[in-house]
């Protein structure tokens, strides 16, 4: 008996909830905007590893992939039962599926609640503090994004460079901002004001005061 279908009819959270404690590999393919397929190895209620194409995802990439799949409304799936093969060294996730679904539901709810407050994809942020303590998955995001945030980067740029969905990057930036770890760049402060411009501004000021100081 095969388990197959389309996310259009059976959304991803329902699907993995249904798979519950089964063991096997869930393949998701023909996904909108993706040439590659995802494979999720499940073993008695745990996500063992996730692969995109031939690439085994690290925890942060895997979380981004799950969040992406969580929101998809289109895409084929097929589940092959059996004990999944072990991943290469360092790629074992071992995440309890139930807890992952709950935390993702929270993230999705939070993202929906924060939506009007998320930064513009083009607004640039920079690290406001390099000594930070954060919980997962924010910590992993911070670790990956820090080199870019030290010099200033927008959500769009981070998304492209790190390969994470744009909305998730905006969400992480918003959370980091709330935690005081990043702040918007003030491009004006990055540049030295030249003396010529200062002179002009003094002249304008003097004019506003009618020469009085």
């Amino acid at each position: 008996m095969a388990i197959f279908g389309n996310l259009r009819d059976m959304p991803f959270p329902d699907l993995v909830g249904m798979l519950g404690r089964r063991s096997g590999v869930l393949e998701l393919f023909h996904l909108p905007g993706k040439r590659t397929a995802f494979q999720l190895a499940l073993d008695r209620g745990q996500v063992v590893w996730i692969r995109e194409g031939s690439h085994y995802l690290n925890p942060l990439e895997a979380r981004a992939a799950i969040a992406h799949l969580f929101a998809l409304k289109e895409g084929a799936f097929e589940f092959a039962s059996g004990t999944p093969p072990p991943p290469p060294d360092g790629k074992l996730l071992g995440w309890p599926l139930e807890r992952l679904l709950l935390s993702l539901t929270t993230v999705v709810d939070e993202m929906a609640a924060y939506a009007p407050h998320l930064p513009d994809p083009h607004t640039r942020f920079q690290a406001a503090s390099l000594e930070v303590w954060l919980e997962e998955p924010l910590w992993s995001f911070w670790e990956r994004a820090k080199p870019l945030l030290e010099r200033g980067a927008s959500a769009e740029e981070l998304s492209a460079r790190l390969g994470f969905p744009l909305d998730q990057v905006r969400y992480y930036l918003h959370k980091l901002r709330l935690a005081g770890k990043v702040a918007p760049v003030r491009a004006y402060q990055e540049r030295q004001v030249d003396e010529e411009k200062k002179g002009l501004f003094r002249r304008l000021l003097a004019s506003l005061f009618g020469g009085r100081r």
């Binding site: 491009a187 004006y188 002249r203 304008l204 000021l205 004019s207 009085r212």
Partner: protein, 175 residues
């Protein structure tokens, strides 16, 4: 010398057109159209407002951005190369603060433009103070000024504050 321009931005109803009218020495060119959504007033700016101020023989072109988000493609066009930015927000409309912060951060993180935030409607009894708005925006208090957009003096003081921030010099007897 390149033409100098000062850009006035902010959410719908912050007082951008009024601010430019207060400073301009020519009748302000407006591009008002009937609002197509409920924004609390009948007409709104759809492209830009334009006024002109001359200081010591130097013309300063005053541009007001449209407040509605659907016209946000105009923001970059107007702010590019500007002398300064005045971002206005109505102090009695805290629901507009997130939008105002969004605009400010978008513009000032991308364009090296000096700026001040003007908190309008300070003549009303129930209104946020500039100090509290500075905390919300995460800005130093000297970068946020209280004002009444209809008052030419108030608009001039906002302009002075912005120029002071660039020169790093406080002009005596004003504040």
């Amino acid at each position: 010398m390149k033409p100098l321009k000062l850009v006035v931005s902010g959410p719908v109803g912050a007082g951008k057109t009024t601010f430019i009218q207060s400073l301009s020495e020519i009748p302000v060119v407006e591009t008002d159209e009937l609002a197509t959504e409920d924004i609390g007033k009948e007409k709104t700016t759809v492209a830009l407002d334009y006024g002109l101020l001359t200081l010591d023989g130097v013309p300063i072109h005053l541009f007001g951005t449209p407040g509605q988000e659907r016209f946000d493609f105009m923001w970059d066009v107007l702010v590019e190369g500007a002398l300064g930015l005045v971002l206005l927000v109505a102090g009695d409309q805290p629901r507009d603060f997130p939008k105002a912060r969004h605009i400010l951060e978008y513009l000032t993180s991308r364009h090296p433009v000096p700026f001040v935030v003007g908190v309008t409607r300070q003549d009303l009894p129930r209104v946020w103070t500039p100090e509290d708005v500075a905390d919300y925006f995460g800005l130093p208090q000297e970068q946020v000024v209280g004002m009444n957009a209809t008052s030419p003096t108030s608009a001039t003081l906002a302009l002075i504050r912005m120029l002071e921030l660039v020169t790093g010099e406080r002009w005596q007897g004003v504040w």
